[in-house]
Structure formats: C-alpha cells, structure tokens
C-alpha cells in the first residue's frame, strides 16, 4: 500500500475552518490529493508552499459562505426575545438567591467605592479649569538649585519680578500677585465678635485675568482712603442679612493694633468658584504700587501670577525669561524661574507650604488605583462564581440549544442576567453614594462641586462605563457556558477542556495579592503615622498652650505676670517662635568651620529667658538663661529701632543656647566664648529638638533671649488636666488687657498633630479600603467554596460512607484554596515591600519594615480564608451522606 502523505496538520485545520461545512468533503479531499501529487513530483518543500497558496486560494466567498440551515432563525434582538431574556434572567436570579446576593453585594461595594473615588478625582481635576483665560495664566515658581538637597521650589518670587517681566517681554499681557489673608470682620466698630473671613488679596490688574462678575458697586477702581474689600454674595448674606453694604465701612478684629481697622466695601460679586485654589469669601484689593525690580540683595517676596497673550509658546518664553534672570542675578543658573500653569496649581503644590487650598496628586493616584483594583476584584468574583456555576447550568444550556436556540441567543441570555445584576448593583451603589457623599465631604474637609447627582453628563458617562464593564465581565462566562456541545452536556460528559479552572485559580491569586498589598500598606502607613505622632520631639508637647502672634503694645510683661497667677499655670514665655510655625524666626548661612568653601544653615529661635524651660528642653551642658545675667536677654526691638549698628554690636556678645547638632556643626568646644562666624556667645547646650514637622530633618538651632518684645506669641506650660480652666482664665484676662484684639489659644499638641493630617487621612482611607478588599476577596472565595462543596457533594458522601472524618473532609475542601492564598502571599510580599519602601523614602524619619508585618499579614489573610471556608466546609462535611447519594 502507498504511504499516506498528508500536509501539515495546522494548515489542514486552517483550511477546514475556512471551508464551509458542506464543501469540506470534496474540497479538502482535493487539496490533500494535490498535495500528495506535488509531494511525489517535487518534494516536501515545494508541495508545502503550494499548499500554502492553495489555502489562501480558499479565501473566496463561494468557499467560505456557509449554507443556510433552511429554517428561519429567530431574530436575536426582537422585542419578544428581549422580554424573554429579561424574564428568564430575573427568574434565574431569584431562584439562586444566595448567589445573586453575593454577586450583588460584591458588585455594589466595588461600584460604590469607584463612584466615590471617581467623584473625588473628577472634582480634584476640575479645579481652576473654569476661568476663560485660565490657559494663559501661570504662577511664577522659583527654583533654587542647592548643592546638597536638590532643587528647592518656592511659590514666592521677588516682588517686582512680574512687573519687570511685563516691561521686558511683550508676551506678558498682565500680572497680579495673589495671596491669602484671614480676617475676623464685624459690621460695627464696637461689636465684640467678628465673622471669620477668608480673603483673596489681589491687585487691580487681576480684574482682567479672572472672570469675576460684579453684581453691585464699582469695585474695579481702587478708592483711596481705606482698604478696599469686595464681598461675595453669599458671604454678604451671611455677614449682614438684608443689608446693602456697598459704600459702607466694616471693621476687623486686629492682631497687631489695639483698635479695629476700617475697610470700605466697594462692591458685591458673585461667589468665586468653589473649585479653585483662589476660592475665598471676599477680595482684598491691593493697589499696584511696587518698587522697580533691582538686584540688591534685599527683597520682598510675593506670589506672582502672569497672564501671557493667547498662543504664546510657554517653553520658549520660559527659556527667554530664565536667560534674562540668570544674567541679571549673575548666579550661573542657580536660581531658576518656572511657570506653573494655573490648572495644575491645585494638585501639584506639595512644595508650597503657604497654600491653603491644595490637593494631593499622589493620594489621588493611589486611591484611583485602589478603587479600580476593588472593582477588578468585584468583577473577578463575578467571573469566578459564574464560571463555577457553569456546571450547574450546562444542562439548561444544552436543552436550550437543542430546542433550536442559537449560541448567540444563549450568550445574550446570560449577558442579560449580568446586566440585570449590574443594574441592581448600580441602584444599590447609587443609594449608598447619595447617603455617604456628605460624610465623604466631611472627611475631605471641603465640598465636592462635581458629583454624579449634580452633573448629569458625568452620570451618563459613568453609566456607559458601567455598561461596558458589565458586558466585558459577562462575556467570558457566557462564552464558556454556551460553548459546550449540547449532545455531550446532556449525556453528562464534560470534556476535559474545562480550562476555566486554572483561570479561576489565578484570578483568586491576583485578588488575594491585591488585598494583601493593601493590608500591608495599611500597617506600614499606620506605623509611620504612629512614629511621627509619638516621636520624642526633644521638648514636651503635652500640656502646652500657645497664643498666636500678636502685638503686645508694651503690656507683654504685665500680661505674662497675670497669666502666671492663673491656677494651673506652671511657666510662661513670650516667644518669637511657636512649634509648628517654621524653623525659627530667622535663618542664617554661616561659614562651615570644617570646610571654608561651604556654608551651613543655622536657625534662630528667640523668646524671653523662660523659653527653654517652658518648652521643656533638656539641658546637656552649661546653664540655661537667667534674669540675673544682663547679657542674656537683649532688648532687641527698641535697640533695633534706636540704632541698628548698636543692636548688631550688642547681638555679637549676646548669650545664647545651642542645640547639640548646632554645637557639633559649629565646632563649639568651650562655652562662654564667642563663636565668630555665628556672632554669639554660647552659655548652654540643650539636646536636639524638632523645630518643624518630621518631614524635615533636624535643624541646628541657636536660642536667643529677648526682653520687652513688641510682638510675638506666648507659650504656657500648664499642669496636666487644667488646660480648659487655664484657657478660660486667659480669655478673661485678655478682655481686660486687649478688649479689641483677636485671641487664639491652641493646644500645641493638636497643632502638631494637624501637620500629619495627610498621613492620618491616608491611614484612615487605607484602613477602609483594606477592609473592603479583604471582604470582597473573602466573599469571592466563599462563593467558590460553596460551589466546590455542591459539586463534590457526592464525593463527600462516598468518602463519609467509607469512613472519612469530618476534619479530613474539611481539610480536603479547604486545601486547594489555602494553597492559592499562600501563593498570593508569596507574590504580594516582595511587591508591597518594594513599593512601600519607595513611599517611605519621602520621609527623613521612617518606620522600619519588620519581618513581623509580613507574618501578621500572611497569618491574617490565611485565617480569614480559613474562617470563610470552614463555615461552608464544615456544613458540607456534616451533611448526611444518604441525602447527597440518593439525590439524582
């Protein structure tokens, strides 16, 4: 017999696929016969290539077109069919209540979290996009290329800079300085209390930059005499309901004078947009009166904004401006200017300490990522459960197909079920969204302007996205279930290619990896927060009250003496530095004694002689300040006013206390000897303390003492538990001393904790999200276990009959899942370690990533899994085997 020569299998298969079924017999036969002929005539290679050509030759309509079955098929999308899909779908969902509930809970949680996060993200992105000339407005950011710590960016630039740019470059259309201020306004001079008002300070030119709609008055022109203030409509309504304030005077509660300052209301405007970093209750108008720009070493600073002509090439302009700036400063590009677009200011201003209204781009990225992952987990749950359920539905699918339902009909049927579930979930999610949006606003500390309820367009897009997600999620299970051969499924033969199992397993692993990463992040963020809140700052932050900066009007010492007599007060100090308010009242760059080329920065903190003790600094050498030494405390203010040179001289020989790091850096060996480069005589050394938040490394600091200060704050050390009583006492005293002046008393510890608000929020969010991801993952695995127990009920029954123990059966059912969770732990841990290490690099003082974090996370993931599984597994193991075996 002749040996059978056949073409390559894969090509043959391709040819068979292309060819319509009714033509296959003759056509494929022809192809194979010709291949054999060619093979014998000219060898394998030629025959192969010819066969390849032949297969491509099949690409013609007459070959590919399938013969119609001869029966008219039911249209897939007729209204009857749609109604039928819907009816069957709801019936199926109601019949399997348990599954539907698991699906619904998971999806609703996922969708709800996504909606909330999407709202926050969209709201954050909407900031400062509403100004008609917004694309032409830039904030001038100066960048200081310092050698050691990388470039330092500041929003402040030299006061005359913007004006100079306007003069030099035709690209600049106009400019204005913007800054924030806060006043307590009252309608009448003699009113006791005022309404706290947030003010936007701007120049008259800003009228041309921002779209501000004036409703009454003519505030565009500056009216000399009093300060001009323009109120927003809603603020005016709150401030003096029903009264027309235009042209009237209102008053503030001052911090520096002892009499209220008058302000002239020159107009009322529509409220400034809430989603702008310039939002405020009122505008304080400045007259443009800036000294010309000159490079002389003494500068005032301002936050300058420029508006360029439309269509200006910003990069080119920035280059030009920088070239000029470098030339005029003669610093070889050490200081650079950067133009920050208005619309990026809100989210990308982490460097700007003074900015009151700002978002955090990183947090936005992190949480959009987590919300998407959450939705992903919910969808994975859905896919997993649906494919697991495929077994139960194979018979149904088989019967439908035999009764002339097409595969596409079946797919549509299953997709309809998915859509119904998603629809129900979105209803639930929207309800919760509406209920929770207010708490979210409270948590964020600001209103959300763009929400799904206020912006129908946004809701429309969201629905479209959810619809697509539903389709995408539902497609795979539908494809799988509908794909089996009805003849096989009805006979109970499930072909070996039920490969969904490995897919399901890997999905579970991904799911758990995500929740483990989030859980690890939660622990690390909490540890970091804990570290920052509880680190020993070098002074005692507890039981310490602070009064903000005021002018003392010569009554400081008298006031201090009175405060000292309030019961509960231990010690008080008038001070020029308060914790949480910067590194000190002055910073000086002095030559480094170790390296003449370098300069080191030293911060100065000043207060009266009681400051070190009031703060609770620990003395480690020398003595503390004392009233007995006349050189200890300098009458700085009056000296400075009288004769600046004399003051400088006196300051040279002034006593000071150094922190340990300052002493080390300045190379101080002997006390009571003048340090030449720092102009001071150290008398004592205290241990290091953290002037600022723990975002900053420790600062070498020199403490000076001043006498009879004209302005400053006040620190009051009290006995534990007497804070409230002392606070009331201070308020009473204040009324006597400064009836018209503003008083703000704070607990220093609260102020310090507020610095870590970002971490605090991050931590709370992570707690919340790690709970959700864990819950959803557990829900998913629960569904799978229920499924497995159901599928294997016969096996469990037989095992029990043959004498298997309950524990053995529980182990049998749980083993597979625990294996998956362990794989997830192994995968997730290094990933989390890398990314969290990266996050911790932001902080100079960071918590450690101990091994026990990973152990705890792993153990808790496994125990959650076991808890979830055992609930169902035990039930399956305890079931009566007679029931499961008899049932057919």
């Amino acid at each position: 017999m002749k040996k059978n020569i056949l073409p390559p299998k894969w090509l043959d298969r391709l040819a068979t696929k292309l060819c319509a079924p009714h033509l296959r017999e003759e056509l494929i036969g022809d192809l194979q016969e010709r291949y054999a002929m060619r093979f014998e005539r000219s060898g394998r290679q030629k025959a192969f290539f010819f066969y390849l050509r032949e297969v491509f030759g099949l690409l013609r309509l007459s070959v590919i077109r399938r013969k119609s079955s001869g029966y008219s098929s039911i249209p897939l999308f007729s209204s009857e069919m749609l109604a039928n899909y819907f009816k069957i779908g709801t019936r199926v969902l109601l019949k399997n209540r348990g599954y539907s509930f698991i699906h619904l809970t998971g999806l609703a949680i996922g969708l709800w979290a996504c909606m909330i996060v999407a709202t926050v993200v969209i709201d954050s992105l909407s900031y400062d996009r509403q100004w008609s000339r917004g694309n032409d407005i830039y904030r001038i950011v100066t960048e200081d290329q310092k050698g050691n710590s990388g470039p330092e960016r500041m929003t402040a630039s030299h006061e005359g800079l913007a004006q100079e740019l306007e003069k030099l470059f035709p690209e600049v259309e106009t400019w204005s300085a913007f800054s924030y201020a806060e006043r307590h306004f009252k309608p009448n001079e003699l009113d006791e209390y005022g309404l706290k008002t947030e003010l936007l300070r701007m120049d008259t030119t800003a009228w041309n930059m921002l779209d501000i709609h004036v409703t009454s008055g003519n505030p565009r022109r500056y009216i000399p005499g009093n300060q001009n203030v323009i109120l927003s409509k809603s603020f005016a309504e709150r401030f003096a309901p029903g009264k027309d304030l235009v042209g009237k005077l209102i008053y503030d509660i001052p911090t520096y004078q002892d009499k209220a300052n008058p302000y002239l209301v020159t107009g009322i405007i529509d409220d400034l947009p809430y989603n702008s970093h310039l939002r405020a209750d009122a505008i304080l108008l400045n007259v443009k009166n800036v000294a010309p720009y000159a490079v002389n070493g003494f500068y005032s600073f301002a936050q300058n904004y420029v508006m360029l002509h439309p269509g200006t090439d910003v990069a080119a302009f920035s280059k030009k401006a920088n070239h000029w700036y470098t030339t005029i400063n003669k610093d070889r590009g050490k200081m650079r200017l950067e133009l920050q677009p208005l619309k990026y200011i809100y989210l990308h201003s982490a460097f700007s300490d003074a900015q009151r209204i700002k978002g955090n781009a990183d947090a936005i990225y992190i949480f959009s990522g987590i919300a998407l992952l959450l939705l992903f987990i919910a969808c994975v749950n859905f896919i997993n459960l649906s494919t697991a359920k495929a077994f139960a539905r194979l018979k149904e699918a088989g019967v439908r197909r035999i009764l002339s339902g097409s595969r596409y009909q079946l797919i549509l049927q299953l997709l309809t079920e998915t859509l119904i579930l998603f629809g129900a979930s979105i209803v639930v999610a929207t309800t919760f969204y509406n209920l929770s949006i207010e708490s979210v606003e409270e948590f964020l500390g600001h209103r959300l302007v763009q929400t799904f309820t206020t912006n129908p367009e946004m809701a429309l897009y969201a629905s479209a996205i959810v619809f697509l997600t539903a389709l995408f999620t539902g497609l795979y299970p539908a494809w799988l279930i509908s794909g089996f051969k009805p003849s096989n499924t009805l006979r109970g033969i499930i072909t070996g290619t039920f490969g969904a199992n490995s897919l399901r397993k890997s999905l579970v692993v991904v799911q758990f990896s995500i929740s483990i990463v989030v859980l690890l992040a939660t622990i690390v963020v909490w540890k970091q927060l804990d570290l920052m809140k509880n680190k020993d700052l070098g002074y005692d932050k507890k039981h310490l009250l602070g009064i903000d900066y005021v002018s003392w009007d010569g009554k400081a010492d008298a006031f201090k003496a009175e405060v000292q007599r309030i019961p509960g007060v231990v010690r008080t100090s008038i001070t020029r530095w308060l914790p949480s308010q910067g590194g000190g009242f002055m910073m000086r760059q002095v030559p480094d004694p170790a390296d003449a080329e370098k300069r080191i920065k030293v911060w100065f903190v000043a207060g009266d002689v009681d400051l070190p003790e009031t703060l609770g600094l620990k003395l480690s050498g020398g003595r503390t300040f004392s009233k007995q030494y006349s050189t200890d405390a300098l009458n700085a203010d009056s000296l400075q006013q009288a004769d600046f040179m004399k003051f400088e001289q006196a300051a040279m020989s002034q006593a000071s206390m150094l922190t340990e790091s300052a002493a080390k850096m300045l190379n101080v060996k002997d006390l009571n000897k003048q340090i030449r480069n720092a102009h001071t005589i150290p008398v004592g050394i205290v241990s290091d303390f953290y002037n600022e938040s723990l975002y900053e490394p420790i600062k070498p600091t020199i403490i000076l003492a001043h006498r009879a200060m004209q302005d400053g704050g006040m620190l009051i050390r009290v006995q534990p538990g007497t804070e409230k009583q002392v606070d009331a006492g201070i308020h009473r005293l204040w009324k006597q001393f400064y009836p018209a002046k503003l008083l703000e008393v704070n607990q220093i510890e609260e102020l310090l904790d507020k610095q870590y608000e970002a971490e605090n929020r991050l931590h709370q969010l992570f707690m919340f999200f790690s709970g959700l991801t864990m819950f959803l993952s557990a829900l998913g695995i629960f569904g799978l276990v229920v499924q497995a127990a159901e599928q294997r009920s016969k096996e469990v029954g037989i095992r029990k009959v043959l004498g298997a123990s309950v524990a053995g059966i529980v182990a049998l059912l749980s083993k597979d899942f625990i294996k998956l969770v362990i794989i997830a732990i192994v995968l997730a841990s290094p990933l989390a370690w890398l990314s969290l290490n990266k996050w911790l690099e932001h902080y100079p003082y960071r918590t450690e990533m101990n091994w026990w974090i990973f152990v705890i996370t792993g153990l808790s993931a496994i125990s959650i899994t076991i808890l979830t599984i055992s609930f169902q597994a035990v039930r399956a193991a305890l079931a009566d085997p007679v029931k499961s075996l008899r049932n057919e």
């Binding site: 017999m1 002749k2 059978n4 020569i5 056949l6 033509l23 017999e25 003759e26 056509l27 494929i28 036969g29 022809d30 192809l31 194979q32 016969e33 010709r34 054999a36 002929m37 010819f50 050509r53 032949e54 030759g57 099949l58 690409l59 013609r60 007459s62 070959v63």
Partner: protein, 115 residues
Amino acid sequence: MRRSDLGEFEEIVLLTVAATAPKAYSVVIAEELEKETGFPVSTGAVHAALQRLEQKGYLSSYLGEATQERGGRRKRLFTITAFGGKILNEARAVRESLWNRIEPETLAKIGLDFS
C-alpha cells in the same frame, strides 16, 4: 444569439471537463490546466468555476469513490450536460466564424499564416 455568460476561465474549465470525461474533477482539471498553460492553477479557483458552471446548468456532478490520498474523502466528479455542450459549441462557432473572416494578408502580417 443570446449574450453568453461564459467567462474565459469558465470556458476553458468547461472544455477541460469535456476533454477529461468521464474522470473530470477539480484535481484532474487543475493539473491539466497547469500542464497546458504552464502556470500554477489553484484548486479553489477551479472549484469555484465548477460550482458556477453547475449552477448555470452546463455541468452536472455526483460524488465518486474515496481514495487514500484524499484522506478517505470522496471526490465530486463532473460531466458536461447537453446544454453545456450547446453553449460550448456556440462559443466555438463564434470564434471560428471570426477566424474565418480574417483576410489571409492580415494573417500573414501578424505572423499567423499557416497555409
């Protein structure tokens, strides 16, 4: 005469069916055409032409026996119908009358003088 709906390739395939009768099927026809023209002819093209010719009623077909080279598949054998023969004849008549009308000088000029 009615306008012939017989394409050039179809005509040649039809002729080949007649010439290789009674064993005419795609492989034989394609091989024959390759031999005659010297160009590779794909089975798909021949098959498509045969299908069209059968639809037009010039050919009839039946399934033949299976062979080893075909992986045990049967082949579809084609025979020309009387109608097919008539059409072929008509096409030939048209051609012949045109050939006959060419003047001998013209034939000589284009190098086709066979006399």
